[in-house]
């Protein structure tokens, strides 16, 4: 079992895992606290986990790595901004419902104590249908360009981000915390979610030990949310449809000969990926505290792609374990290199290491021989 894992993992993963282990071991010697580092890693893991999860359906359905993740992110951004724009209306509507149906506790519980949760939920509820529609078109497009999915996905992502740049300027957003103050219109580059749904997941059930010896913060809620999402994906991949999807990715000709509609499965996979991307960015924002618009989502696909590859996935096979391992390793490296290496070399090499590790990982996956598909 362990031998097989190592064999499957391949040398780049082993090296990076050892490197990370080395960083953790070296940390105390350069005055970096292991517990804080671990906490940071966990927070980043929770922030990025769902977006990495978004890779699974498309990889499993043979559409390759989802370099078009920004499309899902855009849906998430729309959901996030609209949830703030309509925050008052949504809450007012609930209060109204409460009065109409004489449910006074609704007003009490939901509106007062659960404002943030409601805002967060409304962001997701708005984002998911948008993501589904975008994903459907995106899936149809990818079905027509089989064999070139990854390059086209990259540029679909880029062009949709740059298209949205124009849209962010022109869309009739009114909310004062979001639009530029002087012009009165056009969304700001970064929008704070404070006062809406900042840390709504992160702080839920969070374990925050801050004593003299231990500085530990575990964003339990966010990790549970990730676990639930991962479980849903896990269950889905075990349904009849999920099984068909896996077969499509494994061998489309086999699937077709078994009566599976290959294009339909691929479309479903792309829609799922896009939806997960949308949910993922909202989870990310609630922890990060800001909605980053304009060119913000531009390169967001690369870390997610690199993470899942780092976790041992290949261009056409990926599982939950790959997501968990990969995200932990990748985010671990990102957390540890600035703190440890910087204290050692007195310089910030994290950006360079991130570039080399993530792109080297993708390059490794792309140049590995895969079974010739037709």
């Amino acid at each position: 079992m362990i031998g097989r894992f190592i064999q499957n993992a391949g040398w780049p993963r082993i090296i990076i895992a050892l490197f990370l282990l080395g960083l953790f071991i070296a940390a105390p010697f350069v005055g970096v606290r292991v517990d804080t580092s671990l906490s940071n890693t966990l927070v980043r893991f929770g922030m990025n986990g769902v977006m990495v999860l978004a890779m699974i359906p498309m990889v499993q359905a043979g559409c390759g790595l989802n370099f078009g993740l920004p499309l899902g992110i855009i849906a998430g951004l729309l959901g996030a901004t609209l949830s703030i724009e309509w925050n008052t209306e949504i809450l007012a509507k609930l209060v109204e419902l409460g009065t109409v149906y004489k449910i006074s506790w609704l007003n009490e519980v939901f509106v007062t104590n659960w404002r943030a949760a409601l805002g967060f939920a409304s962001a997701i509820i708005i984002a998911v249908p948008i993501a589904a529609v975008l994903g459907w078109f995106y899936g149809k497009l990818l079905n027509r360009v089989k064999g070139d999915e990854m390059m086209i996905a990259t540029y679909v992502g880029f062009s949709s981000v740059s298209f949205m740049c124009i849209a962010w300027l022109l869309l009739p957003y009114k909310h004062p915390t979001m639009v530029w103050g002087y012009a009165g219109r056009g969304l700001r580059t970064t929008i704070s979610v404070e006062g809406y749904w900042l840390h709504v997941l992160s702080d839920a059930l969070a374990l925050d030990i801050h004593t003299e010896n231990i500085h530990l913060y575990i964003p339990t809620g966010m990790l549970i949310f990730f676990a639930v999402m991962a479980f849903l994906v896990w269950v889905f991949m075990r349904t009849k449809t999920g099984t068909a999807m896996t077969a499509v990715g494994s061998n489309p000709d086999f699937a077709r000969a078994s009566g599976v509609n290959v294009d339909r499965m691929r479309t479903i996979a792309v829609v799922m990926s896009t939806i997960l991307g949308a949910v993922g960015i909202i989870v990310y924002e609630q922890s990060f505290g800001f909605i980053q618009l304009y060119m913000g989502p531009f390169y967001m696909a690369l870390p997610a792609v690199a993470s899942i590859l780092l976790g041992g996935a290949s261009v056409n096979k990926a599982g939950i374990l790959n997501v968990v391992v990969g995200t932990f390793l990748f985010q671990g490296i990102l957390t540890m290199t600035p703190s440890v290496i910087n204290s050692y070399l007195q310089t910030d090499m994290s950006e360079v290491i991130r570039l080399i590790v993530s792109n080297g990982m993708i390059l490794y996956a792309l140049t590995r021989k895969v079974r010739a598909g037709r």
Binding site: V145, G147, F163, L170, M349, L355, T367
Partner: protein, 391 residues
């Protein structure tokens, strides 16, 4: 017949759309003709060489060489050294090319080998390779230069003593090639003003009464570009060029005919990388400042977008596409922000619009290419049955 007509329209749709967009945007921008011509000439001189470097991999069937940023980085390393050594003028440019060449060749060979391992997805691989090498480049320039690699000029180094500054002034070679043979076209009234402003005599002075103001022509750069075009035309006629065309169309057949497929592909990438290195040097001598960590980044994207706007596709590109593309792309680049401002009152929109167009056009070109290829594959299968079949 109708199919052929359809093909002609389909092949030229992209340039046509851009001509129409420009036709609307130019009057909106309110720029004068001489200003636009001056700007375009400058940009043709600045960018054409970079775009031309893309042609050879397309010929060899390797698609758009997103890996050309490797060459751009090699060129920048050459420029950093001549800045450090304080070599100016034409010798500086030549020396930068000489330093960049071996680096570009090594990177090109590496890139070629990687792409040979990823046949069928050259583009996405070369694209990621660009990022990867960018990481290595940053490591070299940001950490090794001034530490292991000797850089002494304090104007280049960060205050901490090693690593190169973000912006490096290339004053020593700024415009050197462009102004090697000073050439000016003026209208009759403009001549006097020009001499006053410049305080020197142009080498060549042309007077065309229709133009108001004066237009400076980067003649030497244009000559270099023309020479390069001649090189490409010649290259197409060589055995090597013929082999590349053959490989571009069918690797298996070329292989069985005894053409060394992998080697030829590597040669194509090496040539492209080296030329991109020179292209970047020409580009930067015009710009006059080197953004150490960004200049190369967008070289690839803008060059590819320009080429595609000129009507090229992933598998077919000509010199005419390059020049049409550079004119249309940069016309849009110049007028879009102003047109956007005059139209909607926000220059930012035009700014984003041109970025959107750059990416959108690449996406569309890639989609059309894949679509066409899949359709052709299907048609080829259908043709096997001949006319003898049933319905």
């Amino acid at each position: 017949m109708i199919r052929r007509l359809f093909d002609i329209i389909a092949n030229n749709a992209v340039p046509a759309v851009f001509i129409i967009i420009s036709a609307f945007a130019i009057p909106l921008s309110g720029y004068s003709a001489s200003y636009l011509i001056q700007e375009l000439l400058t940009r043709i001189g600045r960018n054409s060489f970079l775009i031309l470097s893309l042609l050879i991999p397309i010929m060899a069937g390797m698609g758009l060489n997103f890996g050309m940023v490797l060459g751009a980085m090699a060129g920048q390393i050459g420029l950093l050294f001549i800045c450090d050594w304080g070599i100016v003028g034409i010798p500086g440019i030549v020396l930068a090319c000489l330093i960049g060449t071996p680096i570009a060749i090594i990177l090109g060979i590496f890139c070629g080998h990687v792409l040979n391992r990823a046949k069928g997805r050259e583009m996405v691989t070369s694209y990621i390779l660009g990022f990867f090498i960018n990481g290595v480049y940053q490591m070299v320039v940001l950490y090794l230069m001034g530490w292991i690699i000797p850089i002494t000029n304090p104007a280049l180094l960060l205050s901490r003593g090693y690593g190169v500054r973000n912006a490096v002034s290339l004053l020593g070679i700024r415009g050197i090639l462009d102004n090697l043979i000073p050439t000016v076209i003026t209208g009759t009234q403009g001549a006097g003003q020009f001499f006053n402003a410049q305080g020197g005599n142009p080498f060549i002075l042309l007077q065309i009464p229709l133009i108001d103001g004066s237009i400076r022509i980067p003649l030497a750069t244009l000559i270099v570009i023309a020479l390069f075009c001649v090189f490409i035309i010649w290259f197409r006629k060589t055995k090597l060029g013929q082999d590349m065309r053959a490989i571009g169309q069918n690797q298996a057949v070329s292989d069985s005919a005894g053409i060394p497929v992998n080697r030829t592909r590597i040669i194509a990438i090496v040539i492209s990388t080296v030329l991109a290195c020179y292209g970047q040097i020409i580009y930067l001598q015009n710009m006059g400042t080197l953004n150490t960590y960004n200049s190369h980044d967008q070289a690839g994207m803008f060059s590819i977008a320009a080429l595609l706007i000129g009507g090229a596709s992933v598998s077919r590109a000509s010199i005419a596409n390059v020049f049409l593309g550079v004119i249309l792309f940069h016309l849009m680049f110049i007028v879009a922000p102003v047109a956007g401002k005059n139209l909607i009152g926000d220059a930012q929109i035009g700014e984003y619009f041109r970025v959107f167009v750059s990416y959108g056009i690449i996406a569309i070109a890639l989609v059309l290419h894949a679509w066409k290829r899949n359709r052709e594959r299907e048609a080829a299968r259908r043709s096997l049955r001949g006319n003898k079949g049933g319905e």
